[in-house]
């Protein structure tokens, strides 16, 4: 077998390993990914509008945010925690590092696998949202290619952030780092509010621009929210969104692969 074919074979064997393991734990995976969005959809989409604390169309503004957050977190979870444990002490990854391919391909495989997890988890939000929100579930269908693209891009953003975090965090810092990184990521990412609505809190609107999740949520809003009484929902410019997310994925992947290589080859 030629060297390249051997390396490609090894790459897909490793991807297959991750898929086999996930397939065997598919229900736990779905529960882990969907428990939080399920309650968010219920409380913010059903309960709050029901008791008059939120507008009726709040659900349709929030749904894209939930899709973004779910996809991103599911992708990150698939990469970060296994990497922290593996590089820290389990070293189960060594067997894969000894396979006949460049070391950074092992990182690439993790990113690809994480992105697949993210895409599956955010796709499942759609039937879930339809079930929970009932008539409140409104998604425009004329921007389907944009929607699919945004779901995939969001998953890649999540898995590349997951790679960087997984290679930086040491096992004894896990709980602290999760609090320090996840909590701000969660609340400054325009998941529960559209970016344009922040005009009155200018400084916070600027802060949210440093969170890749903001662009994911806004991109999904652009592709999902139908015009309201003939008016398009104002979102961030789609090209700005694409540019920002492209930069984020590239920077996180390059940074993450570098730290990965430093951790595994000393």
């Amino acid at each position: 077998m030629s060297r390249t074919r051997l390396a490609v074979t090894a790459f897909f064997a490793i991807l297959q390993r991750d898929l086999v393991v996930t397939g065997r734990e598919f229900i736990p995976f779905l529960l882990q990914a969907l428990m939080q969005p399920l309650f968010f959809l219920f409380i913010f989409g059903k309960v709050l509008p029901g008791i008059g604390l939120a507008a009726g169309n709040f659900a349709s503004l929030m749904l894209p945010g939930i899709v973004a957050l779910t996809g991103m977190l599911a992708a990150m979870q698939g990469v970060t925690l296994p990497l922290v444990l593996d590089l820290g002490y389990a070293r189960e990854i060594d067997d894969r590092l000894l396979s006949p391919m460049p070391v950074w391909w092992v990182a690439l495989e993790k990113v690809l696998y994480g992105a697949m997890r993210g895409a599956v988890a955010s796709t499942v939000i759609f039937p879930l949202g339809w079930l929970i929100l009932g008539s409140g579930f409104v998604v425009r269908t004329d921007r389907l290619p944009e929607l699919i693209g945004m779901v995939l891009l969001t998953s890649c953003v999540g898995s590349t952030i997951g790679l960087l975090m997984g290679t930086i965090i040491k096992p004894d810092q896990i709980s602290l780092m999760f609090t320090l990184i996840f909590t701000p990521l969660l609340f400054t990412g325009c998941t529960y509010y559209p970016w344009g609505a922040l005009n009155n809190i200018r400084w916070f609107q600027v802060v949210t621009l440093f969170n890749p999740l903001t662009y994911c949520a806004e991109g999904l809003r652009y592709s999902m929210v139908p015009p309201i009484r003939g008016h398009e929902l104002p979102t961030l410019n789609p090209y700005v969104i694409l540019g920002a997310l492209g930069v984020s994925v590239a920077a996180m992947f390059i940074g993450g692969t570098r730290t990965f290589q430093k951790r595994v080859v000393t």
Partner: protein
């Protein structure tokens, strides 16, 4: 080509360390050899294995495996080697048999072949009836055997065993020794590190003893044992009705080439073997004790005593190791 592993002037300097972890090491291992790397903790053994198995980048020097330069072409090297580490790194998310079949897949072993080979190896290593479990249910000895099975899935030319029988019960150790000899008989070159001197002595064709990043000696087990000055010992048991102990001692000491003579009382081992009155035991130290048998017998006769037993004792490898690396703790 007869060289399996070639290492020359290898140096590894870690960023924050004042001394070199590996400090100018050179050695060669021929194909089909079992080569032992011995040394106290921190001597540099694991770093050398790390460099040869592509996990650590050398600061200076050349290394090649089966003629392939490790630094220049790590991917080709990976396909030729297999590593059994000190601590289990088995994939705990997979079932035992899958650990083997996936390892085969990572190395491009065709499906049919890897399925058959996995079953064969599991049976060979006594794991055939527990192949559908997860490793978390395995004992240390079983995990160790499974790691060896995994290492063999892509039929490597060179096998690295890092303290393979550490923490194993005697049964598992004997079993692994047999398997290691079998593998070697099939032509696999083996580099092993160990703290078990008995293991090194029994398994290795050649042994290198390291300390402070340098190889101190590199020889066969028998060759190493000759390193202790006056290192071979002739144990003499004699018998006399009268007390001629001092005269026998003097006569033995007078033999040319003898460096030291211990009487039984000075040596706890010999004292234990002092059953009857009138019997005496001496340990005669010399560079080559076996050539002194005749002279020793004559010396004893000359004092009027009779010879009961003459035997040449080799020092143990452990004595050589301590002689070379010292007694202080690391």
């Amino acid at each position: 080509m007869t060289t399996a592993i070639a290492v020359s002037n290898l140096v590894k300097r870690y960023a924050k360390s004042k001394t070199n972890a590996v400090d100018g090491v050179s050695f060669e291992v021929s194909r089909g050899e079992i080569f032992g790397l011995l040394g106290p903790n921190g001597a540099g053994k694991t770093t050398i294995i790390g460099i040869l198995t592509t996990f650590i980048v050398a600061s200076e020097g050349q290394t090649s495996i089966m003629g392939v330069d490790v630094a220049a072409n790590p991917i080709d090297v990976k396909q030729r080697i297999a590593v059994v580490p000190q601590q289990s790194n088995l994939d705990r998310s997979l079932k035992v048999r899958e650990i083997l079949t996936f390892h085969g897949a990572y190395h491009g072993v065709p499906r049919k072949h890897r399925e058959a080979l996995a079953d064969k190896l599991l049976n060979d290593l006594g794991l055939g009836d527990r192949k559908d479990e997860k490793v978390s249910r395995y004992s240390g000895g079983m995990a160790q055997r499974l790691m060896i099975a995994r290492a063999l899935m892509h039929e490597p030319d060179v096998l690295f065993l890092d303290e393979p029988t550490n923490n194993l019960d005697p049964q598992s150790r004997l079993f692994l020794w047999e398997r290691i000899r079998e593998l070697n008989a099939r032509g696999i070159t083996i580099l092993l590190t160990t703290h078990d001197m008995d293991e090194a002595d029994k398994l290795c064709n050649r042994i290198a003893i390291m300390d402070h990043g340098k190889i101190l000696v590199n020889d066969t087990s028998a060759g190493l044992k000759k390193l202790i000055p006056g290192g071979t010992v002739l144990e003499v048991r004699a018998f006399a009705q009268t007390d001629v102990k001092d005269r026998v001692h003097a006569a033995l000491s007078a033999i040319p080439g003898v460096t030291k003579v211990d009487t039984a009382g000075e040596n706890p081992d010999a004292a234990a073997a002092q059953p009857e009155p009138g019997s005496m035991t001496f340990r005669v130290y010399a560079d080559s004790a076996s050539t002194l048998i005749g002279a020793a017998a004559q010396a004893i006769f000359s004092t009027g005593a009779e010879v009961r037993d003459l035997s040449v004792k080799q020092p143990t490898l452990e004595e050589v190791f301590i002689f070379l690396t010292g007694r202080h703790l690391r």
